[in-house]
Point group: C2
Chain length 748, copies 2
């Protein structure tokens, strides 16, 4: 269905009705597809094409591709409007008709019922049209219409993958008015409640157009998590301040309190997650996942049910996944080496120099390391992403899980290794390790010798504390800068550069050639701007929190004020993150999720490691340093601490499970009511023998008489069984009376 002879193109046709700015524009039924043909243009402009006709061929290809893009969208029943974008991009605005949208929403609800995510069938038939309950539900429907493969009724537009590598992104439009109001609302509230998360998920409202911009569950889960974490943080923050003021350094009591806190918090969150997933009707939603568009299958299998399966050899997949083991080892070794080097330099500086700025100079490498870590991590994460891509997971969930595991391992190494080195190598074994280091340095730089202080090496036990402070404080600041300031600057700069290129470059910039309809200009400007924004990645924000939790779980007794810092940081983070989503990022495609993802496992592991690390730190630093016996008893301390924690975890889980949650109870009651009403219907004839009519009794009797077995027909008439039994009892009674038991015997 190619439209080869189009009518006169209509770009700037004057509007006959209100302009978009004036109307109460709806955002629930729209999507934007960003098509970029600069790849083709660039190829041409770089002179890769050799023949005059090559440019034509290239543009011919672009034409074909664009035609096919629009065909696919229209075949899915979507209406399209085309407008020029920045540089050599075209914005394809996609709109679903009310009928199509409502029907897609309805079908997705039926699917939820089929997959037991919701309990009641929504009713209706294949042509039913329902309004979405909230904006995100509609947006999700449009998203599916654009993204899902043709077999599932979508247009199959998978940005940057395969056939559609020139489709740079697809995104819904920000509902700025509501964004603003929610942002204002959030900034006014000190403590967020579950209703606020509901607001983030769907603001109570009756009309779609007046509803909340909805990041859907995955993001709502993130906010619920950060808020729960925040509330829980007040406890270690308060006890931390008390410890800092009144208790000795490396306090055992504080370590125990924090370990218990970690466990309780985690088990509480696990329950809360289930609770929220039921509240938001997404429990079991991970079952409905479709293939990732990037999934490469080896062959198609059609099984006996007529189901087409995308088959990829399982053993091959497992083999590919085992590749992550060498990757983690190599990455760990490389990172470890870098960190050890920084560490050595740092130690040597502190040894080689003496002077007023020593303190600042001494921690300079650590601070540099703290600043560098995010960059090192992100390059290794790039490798991890490639590797995960190669592992070729079928569903997005598996893919994410695998990637998260890798990134988590890397984060652990980059963030915690320096502290672990300080705690367990530098401070206790400094006097063994440092002198050889010095000698190596003296040989490398012979002139350095006289500068070394002649004093004996004296490892500084405050150093551990300072290291933790430096890493956590700079870490939080860096990540704040990286998350909130850097993207703004980058975006600003890109704007300037685009403007510069538009005026100074000879590249074909569409906006230099076409002017917008003045009525649309403002709206188009917003859309173009949104198209240049980053994609929001909720995983990164969660990873940051998990890492922070790790500091707390592993090193809390080193510096008890750490949790107060985190508390403040997270209070700001919660609000700034929402701002980031609204202002610095494209509106995220709604993603349904039933939990914060595979991170709970990471938190579990961190709590576990924490029980080991905390015990070891307190054991080593709390007691007298001179006592060499502490190394002998260290494994016992660790063993005891670890097993107490594991026992505590089992106990907490058991208690929380027993107590249950409001939503779980509610769901159970609803399910019960549904079953009950059903059973009521089929059990109208329960208690089959009550109130039988005489005719029915006769009928039953005749059935029994007709049976072949004489045993079962002897007491067939009413009351005969009872009579037979009573006769037996009576016989026993007579016997007893006859044989002198009972009243007669009493008289003897």
């Amino acid at each position: 269905m190619m439209h080869l002879s189009p009518p006169e193109p209509v770009l700037g046709k004057p509007g006959i009705k209100h302009s978009p700015q004036e109307t109460d524009q709806s955002f629930n039924d729209k999507y934007v597809v960003l098509y970029d043909f600069s790849g083709i243009g660039a190829k041409a402009s770089l002179g890769i094409t050799h023949l005059p006709s090559d440019t034509c061929v290239e543009y011919e290809a672009a034409t074909k591709e664009f035609n096919s893009l629009l065909d696919n969208l229209e075949a899915a029943g979507l209406h399209t409007e085309v407008r020029p974008g920045y540089d050599q991009t075209i914005l394809v605005f996609v709109q679903a008709s009310k009928q199509l949208l409502g029907n897609t929403v309805y079908k997705s609800r039926v699917k939820d019922w089929l997959y037991s995510i919701t309990q009641a069938h929504p009713g209706g038939d294949k042509d039913t049209v329902v309004p979405g309950w909230y904006e995100a539900e509609d947006i999700l429907a449009v998203y599916h219409l654009v993204l899902w493969p043709k077999e599932m009724g979508g247009a199959g537009i998978t940005p940057q993958v395969g056939q559609w590598k020139n489709v740079k992104s697809i995104f819904p439009l920000h509902n700025e008015k509501v964004n603003q109001s929610l942002l204002r609302h959030l900034s006014r509230r000190f403590i967020l409640t579950v209703e606020d998360f509901d607001h983030i998920r769907d603001l109570l409202g009756s009309k779609v157009s007046s509803r909340e911009p909805n990041k859907f569950e995955q993001i709502a889960f993130y906010f619920a998590f950060i808020q729960t974490y925040l509330m829980f943080l007040t406890f270690p923050a308060i006890t931390g301040v008390i410890t800092w003021l009144f208790l000795p350094k490396y306090s055992l009591a504080y370590a125990i309190l924090t370990s218990v806190w970690c466990t309780v918090f985690l088990e509480y969150w696990k329950l809360r997650e289930v609770d929220l997933s039921i509240r938001w009707n997404v429990r079991g939603v991970s079952k409905t996942e479709v293939n990732r568009p990037e999934f490469k299958y080896e062959r198609l299998i059609v099984d006996e049910t007529g189901r087409t399966m995308h088959y990829f050899t399982k053993s091959k997949q497992i083999a590919r996944q085992l590749l992550q083991i060498p990757f983690i080892i190599v990455a760990a070794a490389a990172l470890g080496a870098i960190i050890c080097c920084v560490f050595a330099v740092e130690v040597l500086i502190s040894e080689a120099f003496e002077g007023p700025y020593l303190f600042y100079l001494e921690y300079l490498p650590t601070i540099l390391l703290a600043v560098a870590i995010p960059y090192i991590s992100s390059s290794l994460e790039g490798v991890a992403k490639l590797l995960t891509e190669y592992e070729n997971h079928r569903t997005a969930d598996q893919h994410e899980m695998s990637l998260t595991q890798k990134i988590f391992m890397l984060s652990i190494i980059t963030n915690y290794l320096p502290i672990l080195l300080t705690a367990f190598v530098y401070v206790p074994f400094g006097d063994v390790v440092v002198p050889p280091l010095k000698r190596v340095l003296q040989r490398v730089i012979p002139g350095l010798e006289p500068r070394f202080s002649t004093r004996a090496f004296r490892p500084d036990s405050d150093r551990l504390r300072n290291e933790v402070i430096a890493l956590t404080v700079t870490g939080q600041l860096t990540s704040f800068f990286e998350e909130n300031i850097l993207p703004l600057l980058k975006h600003q700069f890109q704007g300037w550069y685009r403007e510069y290129r538009r005026t100074h470059s000879k590249d074909a910039m569409l906006l230099s050639m076409v002017t917008d309809d003045p009525e649309e200009a403002k709206f188009l400007k917003t859309c173009r701007n949104q198209a240049t924004l980053l994609q929001y990645n909720v995983q990164e924000d969660i990873a940051e929190l998990v890492l922070q939790f790790g500091y707390l779980a592993l090193f809390s007794p080193v510096w008890p004020l750490i949790s107060l810092g985190f508390l403040i940081n997270n209070w700001i983070e919660l609000r700034s993150d929402f701002g980031k989503i609204c202002i610095e990022c494209k509106r995220p495609a709604p993603t349904r999720a039933e939990r914060i993802g595979p991170w709970v496992l990471s938190l579990d592991i961190l709590t576990w490691l924490g029980s080991i690390s905390t015990a070891a730190i307190v054991h080593l630093f709390h007691f007298d340093e001179a006592d060499s016996g502490r190394w002998v008893t260290l494994p016992i301390t660790i063993f005891v601490s670890e097993h107490i924690l594991l026992g505590l975890r089992a106990f907490t889980r058991c208690i929380f499970e027993r107590l249950g949650s409001v939503q779980i109870r509610k769901e159970r009651n609803e399910r019960y009511a549904r079953r009950f009403s059903y059973l009521e219907q089929i059990e109208a004839n329960k208690r089959a023998g009550v109130n039988l009519s005489p005719a029915e009794r006769e009928r039953r009797k005749s059935v029994l008489v007709a049976s072949t077995d004489s045993f079962w027909t002897k007491q067939i008439d009413d009351g005969m069984s009872a009579a037979a039994g009573l006769r037996l009892i009576g016989l026993a009674r007579e016997w007893e009376e006859k044989n002198g038991y009972g009243p007669e015997k009493k008289k003897v």
Copy 2:
């Protein structure tokens, strides 16, 4: 509906049709209720009643109760036949009509569907009658008809509880012919396959009457477990023999192999359990549990859905459950004290005597302990049962879980403490502990002094091995005796005693007063015999296996031949257990279960403890005894071993989960097919935009034109969007050609 004026009782009315022995009797629709009025008679005969009328009152009560029993059974729609039993018992034979039985089976299938245990609704309406797929399904239906409360359509006959304390038991009849054939079949097969478990669950057959006696899933699970365990045991048995022949004592290699084996076996079983539960359609069956009849509620609550809830304060229940902590502590202390005493005596014997029989004398206390342990345990188990009863769990599953936990703790202590004492106290610290013991004994028995050998104390490292051999071998033999021989002897003796009492006692024995119809005599004899048999308890058999597994997990390197012994024992056990069920026990009421119960957790804990215990034993005994440094490194060994095991477990679980199981895949496919066919119906109009008629296009267009937003109406006609996009691409192309890129530039 009391039948106060019954017609002439029909007890020995001559049969007009075939006798039960001649016909192909069915066992699927029958149940036997054993009513015992001897409690009342005994009361009267013991002279507790003071007035002549008291005996009358007592018998009046019995008459009333018996009448009410029959009324209840008949109100549930069941047909009854009454026959005299042994002593002062009455056998009430209960039969469900084909129509009632089929309808009950049907309803129970509908319930399975409602609770998502099965996936497809069975069809039909409230009066549908279906034949049971296998005998046990029918028996379960009759069981429900007899046992379930009246609100649920049953007769509410709860044996030995409350109102029905004189109903001693209710049981189905053994289908002896099929029992025999299955027994023969099992004894002929060397290795049982999943089909054999199916046979145990339901033999493939088309007619109910020709079907297999079915112990239902709980027992089938037990057999599947023992067979799986048996198959896995061959590995440690073979490696054990090799180790015993060629490797040094306390071999590290064997210890590692066995730990890995334990983990792999356990993870495999977890998957297998799910697989079987799907195969047998019982997955999720624990959700359908009704209240235990013994459950005492504080008050009834009727909630908004009209559901009646039996409420018992949660905090009270938790408080009661916390009682088990002091119980376990006290029991452990008491048991520990007994074991330590036996131990001390044993050590002193070995020290005090020297002579040819020393070896036998030395281990006599251990053997006595091994024989005594089952009796000590069972008395403590009695206390545990009372305590669990007091905890007042709502469902049978929770009750069982709680009881199992307690019994498991007790078993651990009684069975493993002696070995642990030997391994970690007696052998390494004997020279410290034994001399003071000697002194105490000398003070108590002053004459003993000269007999003590004067040689210095030399703990015997072979002693640990001998202890393990003695405990496991005698343990297995005792339990075999206790399980298979003792009940037979007991049963025999009871028969003799009953006969003796019948002829010599003056008690009212019904059988002395009434004679059976000769045609029924043989059948009634069988039934009376079955009524005196024990109730089969599958939990005890599983507990035995778990305990055995524990020996293997905890102490395998001590004596590698242990697994060979277990292999042989279990091969016999598997067969003898089935015989036991058929011959020595009442036919068990069918119990639906989705797993072997809470034992998997116990096995998990044992494997975990095993990683600690095995590591410690190998560490301490493998190396030179004189090396005192081994105590310092012991915690490190344990730490490493434990964490390797935990890692291995996670890895194994991950691999097994990835590989999945046949049944899980099958279930997934079925579920998919069901959903697919449903979606096919509602998605008839997918790809909404394909093949639209011109009229439909016009209609959609008009809807868009009617919208208020001019933006979305500019490219409303077919192909206009495409044309607009192509114009933009074309503009870029023109620009490039004009500005010297492309072919023109090439010429420069």
